[in-house]
């Protein structure tokens, strides 16, 4: 019984970690640009296909390839689609991000087809390990570890580096940051590259877990993670990570606790919970500070 409970907890935390990383990637871009980047889904997808392309050569190469592919696509999308729209109305940015997202998805379907492809990525991680007498899947522990390292690493970057400080300033008041000499292009490009890195990590872990890549793999993650950023508090990075984590955990707990005949409606219960959270705290659980005081 204890073992079963612990298994559910590890399950929940590892899925929560994936959503936290995804939500953090979305939150970074929203922070500096007030752009809800649905094309984040395609960053995950392209990283997944990079893994598909390279995993037979070497797992290290596959991870590197995923990072490079996602970061590069993020930078190209920023340069070609979002930079010309900088300063545009948030609604226009949102529509543009849908357009970019659909465009890349359709191009990928054209190039690789819409059928899922099997990827036997990091099969060694599918094994079980015994921790204090309880058997757990190694991949889940790795997922938790990688999520933790990336969350801590991103926090360190934002808190302790010069560029991180500039990014946080730009997120709070972009114009004032520029007045002080912060270069908009550099900060935004860094945010996009970083979101690509996070998307690549999510893709690698997700592909290892599911053993599949398909052109829509990013979208399901991004939609749930986006819900996480909203309940966490749009514009607040700790909020985004926490909200993403919470949504992931809730998904798994609902899966475990709902009676079997209701499990198919898991998402309905999830969104019901989200609606309740937003009714009680419309600004999210950890609201962003200073969103209103802009020049």
């Amino acid at each position: 019984m204890i073992g079963r409970m612990l298994q559910v907890v590890v399950d929940a935390v590892s899925v929560g970690g994936l959503y936290a990383l995804t939500a953090l990637g979305i939150g970074l871009i929203f922070g500096v640009m007030r752009l809800i980047n649905f094309a984040h889904a395609q960053l995950i997808t392209i990283a997944g296909y990079a893994v598909l392309l390279l995993f037979t050569a070497s797992p290290v190469l596959a991870v590197l390839g995923a990072i490079i592919a996602a970061a590069l696509l993020a930078l190209v999308v920023e340069r070609t689609a979002f930079r010309p729209l900088r300063g545009a109305d948030p609604a226009m940015l949102l529509i543009a991000s849908f357009a970019v997202s659909f465009f890349i998805e359709k191009v990928m379907i054209m190039l690789v087809g819409s059928r899922p492809k099997g990827v036997d990525f990091l099969p060694a991680l599918a094994g079980q390990v015994e921790v204090v007498g309880i058997r757990l899947q190694l991949l889940q522990l790795v997922t938790i570890l990688v999520s933790l390292v990336l969350l801590v690493g991103t926090t360190w970057f934002l808190k302790s580096t010069r560029l991180g400080l500039e990014m946080r300033a730009a997120a709070e008041n972009f114009r004032m940051a520029e007045v002080l000499g912060v270069r908009a292009n550099r900060v935004i490009a860094t945010a996009f590259a970083l979101s690509g890195l996070l998307a690549a990590a999510v893709a690698c872990l997700f592909v290892a877990q599911t053993g599949l890549v398909q052109p829509r793999m990013g979208l399901q993650l991004v939609i749930i993670a986006f819900v996480g950023t909203v309940i966490g508090g749009l514009g607040s990075l700790p909020g985004a990570a926490f909200g993403g984590f919470l949504v992931g955990v809730a998904t798994i707990l609902l899966q475990a606790l709902l009676p079997p005949e209701l499990r198919v409606f898991r998402e309905a219960f999830l969104f019901l919970a989200v609606a309740v959270v937003l009714l009680v705290r419309p600004q999210g659980l950890i609201p962003a500070r200073g969103l209103k005081e802009r020049i």
């Binding site: 400080l165 500039e166 946080r168 300033a169 709070e172 008041n173 114009r175 004032m176 940051a177 520029e178 007045v179 002080l180 000499g181 912060v182 270069r183 908009a184 962003a288 500070r289 200073g290 005081e293 802009r294 020049i295």
Partner: protein
């Protein structure tokens, strides 16, 4: 203080010619000429809606001119990015201060030195903490928790950390208690005495006159009077110029 009306001999930091600023169809500034030279303090006074903020926002690169030219340190402003303005030695303390409320006091100050790569930044920040012990005590607290006066001090200190040659302040006394305004102006005098030129927008003419070498009275988007504070005070048309009343109808025109 009988400063000549002719501009002082120092280099021209800002040169504005025929500036027009429009929001939609409304002209907020209509044909203003202004030069600010090294080490001088210039005040722009006038009532609400006179176009003062628009004028200095354009000089600071926040608002694009509809017509006319702006030169910063002799370089045409056209094509300069907003983040380049401070690199030309011009720092802005905007209206409402715009400190980063979610960042700490120390982080706000470090951002003031964004353009600097020299090793003196840390000792300059320490000097701020010596001048303003309250900022030092709260260096690791979110700046949003400071009082209004403390935030204004932080905003001014932050702007000086870029080592500007010209510091622009938009309504530095707005919303502050008189005792705090005294402190703000004492600080501005200190900054001026260090040789930094000041361009101060004020509604409070008495405060601005006490600081400035030259003043411009602005009304309805144009300068109606310019000169030394003494000259302007002696002008019988001052009230009319300030409030933009047609002179024949003004109380001083009889």
């Amino acid at each position: 203080m009988s400063a000549p009306i002719d501009p002082p001999a120092g280099a021209c930091l800002v040169d504005v010619q025929g500036l027009v600023i429009r929001y939609g169809g409304v002209a907020a500034v209509q044909g203003v000429d202004l030069r600010v030279h090294e080490s001088e303090a210039v005040a722009i006074i006038g009532p609400n809606g006179a176009g003062k903020t628009s004028l200095v926002s354009a000089i600071a690169g926040i608002v694009p001119p509809a017509a006319g030219t702006i030169k910063r340190g002799g370089m045409p402003a056209r094509g300069q990015a907003l983040s380049d303005v401070v690199r030309h030695g011009i720092a802005l303390v905007p209206e409402g201060r715009n400190i980063f409320g979610g960042l700490t006091v120390l982080e706000n100050l470090r951002l003031g030195a964004t353009i600097r790569r020299d090793p003196d930044v840390l000792s300059d920040i320490d000097a701020v903490f010596v001048d303003f012990p309250i900022l030092g005590e709260r260096r690791d607290q979110p700046a949003g928790q400071l009082s209004g006066g403390e935030q204004q001090m932080l905003a001014i200190a932050r702007a000086t950390l870029s080592r500007p040659r010209l510091l622009i302040l938009d309504e530095p006394s707005l919303g502050l208690a008189p005792a705090i305004v005294d402190k703000v102006y004492a600080l501005l005098r200190q900054i001026r005495d260090r040789g930094v030129a000041l361009l101060v927008v004020e509604q409070n003419a008495a405060r601005a006159f006490a600081l400035a070498d030259r003043a411009c009275v602005m009304s309805r988007g144009a300068f109606t009077l310019t000169g030394t504070p003494d000259e302007i005070r002696r002008q019988e048309t001052f009230d009319a110029a300030y409030f933009g009343v047609a002179m024949s109808a003004g109380p001083g025109a009889a």
